[in-house]
């Protein structure tokens, strides 16, 4: 990190930790550090000279006084200072750069600009360049969410460097979309809705996968005659194929809490990446995907299809975490309109909140086939001086095992994603057979 960037961020020892923007600066001109320094040195020299009676000490005051007089020439201050910020793109994916340009306008000429940048939470300043009265800033966001991009205080100095005036610029809000985890597998439920798609179902239809032969019936197409079977059986046989249908998938996101995961990251971050990965995989195979985020502000999106639907899904979950704030949950049940009959439900959760477990039980009662994708939460820290701590940890682990077992017994298979392996590896066991769910 270069020196200019460190100065703008204002915390050279901890540059990654953003400062809170200070309260509004006083309006108008105020003395700079340089003016204070020269004034104090001159005053000390004069005071010492007068007190000690040494004439040479006046010479120590002469230099700072000359500097002050030269720098304080009238008409060296710019007037009517205004700042205008331009941010061309306020939406991007994690890790992508965002640029902001601050143009200062004033009457007269200024001596120098000294910007202080207070990036919002989750946003990082990566470069800062100054071209005359224009500041070019480049930010990047390491975490998805709807963040305040930040605040910039620009100190405008007069030409002598003796006075400064601060102009505050608010950069507004940005939307950072999560990067979906790579996933290509799309497990399907036992029953698929009667809609054309790409999944091979158990029903007979006009697909490509051969499932058997049957005797010819009046009205069958001649091109479906299976000649090998006809020759073998002595009567006309018709080849049968599996239907190819689309499915409905709904991702249920646990936003009740955000705990530290096993690899030290945030479980909510990982949950959203998994949700986006699942949604993208199903949308690529032309299925309909919806999302429900439980916890905080309840948001849901009815299942839809198409490439732009992924962006709608991702945008709908951004509100679950706003500037790392917390919102009291509106509802801890899945709203019926958000869940089509027979839709396959992916519940992405760290299984850390009982309210979400209640919602899963409610889901099981509705009969929807469901899969729980667990984002493992880190284990609780042990007090080394507590002799009962290892026993408590063991109980905690057993409790979680029991929870997983109970969910599996209710027809909801539990798969765990550790945040490091691919999502395909986690979902692969679900391809062995369609997801059943609980029968009514």
């Amino acid at each position: 990190m270069n020196q200019r960037l460190q100065r703008a961020l204002g915390r050279p020892d901890r540059p990654d930790e953003p400062l809170e923007p200070p309260s509004e600066r006083p309006v108008g001109w105020r003395l700079s550090e340089r003016a204070h320094r020269l004034g104090l040195v001159a005053a000390c020299a004069l005071f010492g000279a007068l007190l000690s009676g040494h004439a040479w000490a006046f010479a120590l005051a002469a230099g700072p006084v000359v500097w002050l007089l030269l720098a304080a020439t009238p008409g060296t201050r710019p007037d009517r200072i205004e700042a205008h910020a331009t941010i061309p793109v306020l939406r991007c994916f994690e890790g992508e750069p965002m640029t902001a340009r601050i143009e200062l306008s004033y009457a007269g000429s200024a001596g120098g600009l000294d910007p202080a940048v207070y990036p919002g939470p989750g946003v990082e300043l990566i470069s800062l360049e100054q071209h005359g009265a224009v500041l070019d800033l480049e930010f990047t966001a390491r975490r998805w969410g709807r963040w305040s991009l930040g605040t910039v205080d620009v100190d405008v100095y007069d030409r002598g460097g003796l006075a400064r005036q601060t102009v505050r610029v608010e950069l507004g809000e940005c939307e950072i979309f999560p990067l979906p985890d790579e996933s290509t597998l799309t497990p399907i439920p036992t029953r698929l809705p009667n809609r054309l798609g790409e999944h091979t179902s158990r029903q007979r239809g006009e697909g490509l996968e051969f499932v058997g032969v049957r005797p010819y019936r009046w009205g069958d197409r001649q091109r479906r005659i299976n000649w090998a079977a006809t020759t073998r059986r002595g009567s006309v046989q018709i080849g049968e194929f599996a239907a190819e249908q689309a499915t409905d998938a709904v991702v249920l996101l646990d936003a009740f809490g955000d705990v530290v995961g096993t690899h030290g990251g945030s479980t909510l971050d990982d949950s959203v990446r998994v949700a986006a990965g699942i949604a993208r995989a199903y949308l690529r195979s032309h299925d309909r995907v919806g999302i429900v985020s439980l916890g905080g502000r309840l948001r849901w999106l009815t299942p839809g299809t198409g490439s732009t639907h992924l962006l709608r899904i991702v945008e709908s979950v951004l509100d679950v975490r706003r500037d790392l704030g917390y919102q009291t949950p509106d509802l801890d049940r899945v709203p019926p309109p958000a869940l089509p009959n027979g839709a396959l439900v992916y519940a992405v959760t760290p299984l850390a909140d009982d309210r979400f477990v209640d919602a899963l039980q409610d889901l099981a009662l509705r009969g929807n086939p469901a899969v729980v994708v667990e984002i493992p939460a880190g284990e609780p820290r042990l007090d080394p001086e507590d002799p009962g701590a290892p026993l408590a940890l063991r109980l905690w682990r057993l409790d979680r095992e029991a929870l997983r077992f109970s969910l599996t017994e209710r027809g909801m298979p539990v798969v765990a994603w550790d945040g490091e392996s691919t999502l395909d590896l986690v979902l692969a066991p679900l391809l062995r057979q369609p997801v059943h769910g609980r029968t009514r």
């Binding site: 040195v41 030269l70 009517r80 000429s109 001596g111 460097g161």
Partner: protein, 187 residues
């Protein structure tokens, strides 16, 4: 975290400034308390002499933080106060003066946003010249005849002339805005 080797020239200047203020020319040859105070001044000057590169922001009202924030100013002010009560030989006065002005110039360059280089050089030259004139005037023996008063008068006049001449200087550049300049003229 700054290491001790960061901004080495400014640290050395700060140390020398503080030691010079203690009038080392009059220290005895044998080990004495002056030598200890000199060593202490050397260490303090070296430690706090580095220019502050952070923005001038009040982040804490604690005394320790305030001292750290204004350490350059306090170092220069302390050196000047101590030096004002000494009467070193003339060569040491000149050295002390040069050290003070150079230190202030380097610290300003490190802390304030960049001002035009030719403006900085011009102002520094006038500051050196003005200080030198005042020093010469202070060292002239005024009770040794008429010459002393003449030289002192010339020094005072010269300093005033320097100031008036410098005030007529045109500044080399700022960040000018053409359209706002014309708008300002219309008003």
């Amino acid at each position: 975290m700054n290491t001790l080797l960061d901004a080495l020239p400014t640290r050395i200047l700060g140390a020398l400034l503080l030691v010079g203020a203690l009038d080392p020319a009059r220290w005895p040859d044998h080990l004495s308390p002056q030598w200890f105070s000199g060593a202490l001044a050397l260490a303090v000057g070296f430690l706090v002499g580095a220019p502050i590169v952070d923005r001038p922001e009040m982040r804490s009202h604690r005394l320790r933080h305030q001292l750290l924030r204004y350490r350059n100013t306090l170092l220069a002010a302390a050196a000047v106060l101590i030096a004002a009560f000494q009467s070193p030989p003339a060569w040491l006065m000149a050295v002390e003066l040069a050290l003070l002005l150079t230190y202030l110039m380097l610290v300003d360059a490190g802390t304030a946003p960049a001002r035009p280089a030719d403006q900085q050089l011009n102002h520094a030259a006038y500051a050196y010249a003005g200080s030198a004139l005042v020093l010469v005037a202070a060292l002239v023996p005024v009770n040794g005849g008429g010459w002393g008063r003449i030289v002192a008068g010339i020094a005072v006049l010269g300093t005033l002339g320097l100031l008036l001449g410098a005030l007529r200087l045109r500044y080399a550049a700022g960040y000018r805005r053409g359209e706002t300049d014309s708008a300002a003229r219309r008003h």
